[in-house]
Assembly symmetry: C2
């Protein structure tokens, strides 16, 4: 195959992979990971299951790609985070319920026995808590106005973000997710602008 | 059937139902609801699937019984809740990871499309937020020390409890769930004893 054709084929293959990952995100949002099938993902992108398995040989391989995609969304170094950016992230999340739904469904499943996403989530939370503690230290020093250390505050910050997502997905018209998250920042001693 | 035999049969049937619900709680903790099968529950209590279906004709009927069982755990009227009792509930939860796992797995699944537990969770959160707001008003009046109203604080309180459960289930040795929850109560303006 001439060089240009090979490059085109590679670009097409990468586009196809990205399309499959997007379809997998949707199917997981709708049915969870255990309820998702490669056949359903294949159908959504107009491939046979055999054709899909050329790109992702197993369901777990596809899950890995989905989680890597997920991870890019919050791939901001700890030192770069600021609480106002987090508030903006929550605003942004409120505009993309599908993605929040995929994440929340996977998080829920990850606590069941032997789930393939368990290690991902467990490592992710260790990293995210450290990153949030680093952010809080940069903004507040060794103690927040309320007396808690950044390390003791970080798990609460993460818990509020996750917990609000469930309440919001279940009842979007009653739960103002971005507003509630800003309220939490007030509790930390953040002064309103 | 003589009266006493009929009574005995009824008691046995209720005991058997309770045993099936306990087995279902375990199977859901391990596999989620979508991953659970009536056959797996039946096997755990030494029944045939046909025998189990005598008590619960469908998987959804069994889920309803599981959720009713779940609901009894926090069936405390709003006016009776106190933040120190909530802290004690979180301590208690930390001693029963299986139950927390069942709840967290079901909550995660409930946000997927057409899940049979969705209405349960959506109504439960409306009720629990109202109940927590009532508790906060009884303890703090119309404003908490930080200036938030009870109604704006309630979703945060609930979110922290749920979110901490996921972090704790994923990494019990790194996350002190009861300690973190007490830290959150400090943020509300609760003074340490």
């Amino acid at each position: 195959m001439p060089y240009r054709d090979a490059m085109n084929a590679r670009v097409r293959s990468e586009e196809r992979r990205a399309e499959i990952v997007r379809a997998a995100l949707e199917v997981i949002a709708e049915r969870g990971y255990r309820g998702a099938s490669l056949a359903a993902v294949a159908e959504r992108v107009g491939l046979t299951q055999q054709g899909l398995m050329h790109h992702f040989p197993t369901k777990d391989a596809l899950l890995v790609a989905v989680l890597q995609e997920r991870d890019q969304w919050d791939a901001v170094p700890g030192s770069r985070w600021r609480t106002d950016l987090l508030a903006a992230l929550v605003e942004y999340n409120a505009m993309r319920p599908g993605i929040v739904q995929t994440f929340s469904a996977l998080l829920g499943e990850s606590v069941t026995e032997g789930h393939p996403a368990r290690t991902f989530f467990s490592e992710r939370y260790t990293r995210v808590r450290a990153s949030m503690a680093e952010m809080l230290r940069a903004e507040y020093g060794d103690r927040l106005p309320n007396g808690l250390t950044p390390e003791r505050t970080a798990p609460l910050l993460v818990a509020v973000m996750d917990g609000l997502q469930y309440q919001w997905l279940l009842d979007p018209s009653s739960v103002d997710m971005p507003g509630a998250f800003r309220d939490f920042l007030l509790l930390l001693g953040e002064l309103p602008d």
